[in-house]
C-alpha cells in the first residue's frame, strides 16, 4: 500500500486545501455529464431533487478524488503535474484526506438513496469504489490498460444521472457511458505521449512506457476509429437530433484527422517533449497536444449539444426507426 510521505507542515492546512482534495476541475466535468444524463432521461424530476442528484454525484466524485490523493501521495510527489497537491506538499495529512473521502462517500450515497432512488445510489457507490479501489489501488500501478478499464469510473456519471431521474438505465444511458469510455484512451494517451517522463519517474506503467510511443500512437488511432461511430450513434437511437448528428459527425472527422496526425508524428519518441505548462510542448509532440486539447472540446460539445436539444425540446432523430 502507498503511504503518505511524512508531513512536515510547512504551512497549516486551509479549508481551500480540502476543496482541492475534491479535484474541482474533474468535478465540473462530472457535473456536466451527469446533468446531461439526468436531462436526457426525459422524466419529470422535481428541480430540487434534480439538483440534489447532481450534488450527490459531484460530492461522490470529489470523495473519489480525495481517496485517490490519499493513496497516491507517494507517486503524486514525484510528478511535476501533481507534486503541489495538498497531501504530497505536506499541507494536509494523508489520514485527513482519507477521512474526508470516506465521509463524503457515505453522505453522498446515502443522500442519493433517500432523496432519489437506490439504483442511482448503488451506481454511485460502485463508481466511487471502482475509482478508488479498482483503478487507484490496483490498475494504475499494475497495468498499461489502467486508464482503459479505469475509464469506466469517469464514464458512469451520465448513467447515474439518468438512473436518478428515471429509476432505470436504458440502452441510451449506456450509450452516453460508452462515449466517455471510448473517448478516455485516446484522450489520456495523447497526454501521456508528452508527459511520459513524469509517469516514468513515478513508476506508473502508462502505455508509452510499456508498449512504446509508436504502439501508443497506433492504439490512439484504433480507439479513435472505434470512438467515431459510438459518438454518432445517439443520432440513430432516438437520443440526438439534427444538431447532434452534425456536431458529432464533424467533430469525429476532426478527431480522426488529429489522431491520424498523431499516428504519423514522432510524438513521444524523445523524452522531455513537454515544456512548463500542460499545453506547452515541443514541435514533435504538437500533434499529441492538439489531439488532447480537441478531445476535451469534442466531449464537451457532444454533451452540450444533447443537453441543449433536450432542454429546448428539439426533436430527436431515430434513423433506425
Amino acid at each position: 500500500m502507498a503511504m503518505s510521505p511524512a508531513v512536515t507542515s510547512a504551512a497549516p492546512a486551509r479549508w481551500q486545501d480540502f476543496v482541492l482534495l475534491l479535484k474541482p476541475r474533474v468535478m465540473s466535468l462530472v457535473v456536466f455529464t451527469a446533468l446531461t444524463g439526468l436531462v436526457c432521461a426525459g422524466q419529470p424530476v422535481d428541480p430540487v431533487l434534480g439538483a440534489v442528484a447532481v450534488l450527490c454525484i459531484a460530492v461522490g466524485a470529489g470523495a473519489s478524488g480525495a481517496l485517490n490523493m490519499w493513496y497516491d501521495a507517494d507517486i503524486d510527489a514525484k510528478m511535476r503535474r501533481t507534486r503541489g497537491r495538498p497531501v504530497p506538499a505536506g499541507r494536509v495529512q494523508g489520514a485527513d484526506a482519507l477521512a474526508l473521502g470516506v465521509v463524503l462517500s457515505l453522505f453522498s450515497v446515502m443522500l442519493m438513496g433517500m432523496a432519489l432512488n437506490w439504483l442511482a445510489a448503488g451506481l454511485l457507490a460502485f463508481t466511487i469504489l471502482f475509482y478508488a479501489v479498482v483503478y487507484t489501488m490496483w490498475l494504475k500501478r499494475s497495468t498499461a490498460q489502467n486508464i482503459v478499464i479505469g475509464g469506466l469510473a469517469g464514464a458512469l456519471p451520465p448513467v447515474i444521472g439518468w438512473a436518478a431521474a428515471a429509476g432505470a438505465t436504458p440502452l441510451n444511458a449506456w450509450l452516453l457511458c460508452a462515449i466517455i469510455f471510448m473517448w478516455t484512451p485516446p484522450h489520456f494517451w495523447a497526454l501521456s505521449l508528452y508527459t511520459s517522463d513524469d509517469y516514468a519517474k513515478a513508476g506508473v506503467p502508462m502505455m508509452p512506457l510499456v508498449a512504446g510511443a509508436k504502439s501508443t500512437r497506433r492504439q490512439i488511432l484504433v480507439y479513435s476509429l472505434l470512438l467515431a461511430p459510438v459518438c454518432i450513434a445517439p443520432a440513430f437511437t432516438g437520443l440526438g437530433g439534427v444538431a447532434y448528428l452534425t456536431v458529432s459527425a464533424l467533430g469525429a472527422a476532426v478527431f480522426l484527422l488529429l489522431a491520424w496526425r498523431v499516428f504519423r508524428s514522432r510524438a513521444g519518441d524523445a523524452p522531455g517533449d513537454r515544456g512548463d505548462g500542460l499545453y506547452d510542448v515541443k514541435v514533435a509532440a504538437a500533434a499529441a497536444r492538439n489531439l488532447f486539447a480537441f478531445s476535451i472540446l469534442y466531449l464537451t460539445l457532444l454533451f452540450a449539444t444533447l443537453l441543449v436539444e433536450h432542454l429546448a425540446g428539439w426533436p430527436a432523430l431515430s434513423l433506425l426507426g
Binding site: 497549516p12 486551509r14 479549508w15 480540502f18 430540487v48 431533487l49 440534489v52 443522500l111 432523496a115
Partner: protein, 50 residues
C-alpha cells in the same frame, strides 16, 4: 499572538477557517435534508398517525 500551546498565528487562523467551513457545511447539510424531506413528503409532512 501565539497561544500557550505554541500554535502560531497562521496555524490558528487556518484552524479557525477550517472550523467555520465545517460548521457551514453541516448547516448546509441540515438545511438540505430539511428541504429534501419537504419536497419528498409534500403536504403529507404534517400528517400524523395519531
Amino acid at each position: 499572538m501565539s497561544d500557550p500551546a505554541g500554535e502560531s498565528d497562521a496555524a490558528a487562523r487556518a484552524r479557525r477557517g477550517r472550523n467555520i467551513a465545517i460548521a457551514l457545511g453541516l448547516v448546509a447539510f441540515v438545511i438540505l435534508i430539511f428541504i429534501v424531506t419537504i419536497v419528498r413528503l409534500g403536504g403529507h409532512v404534517v400528517e400524523r398517525p395519531f
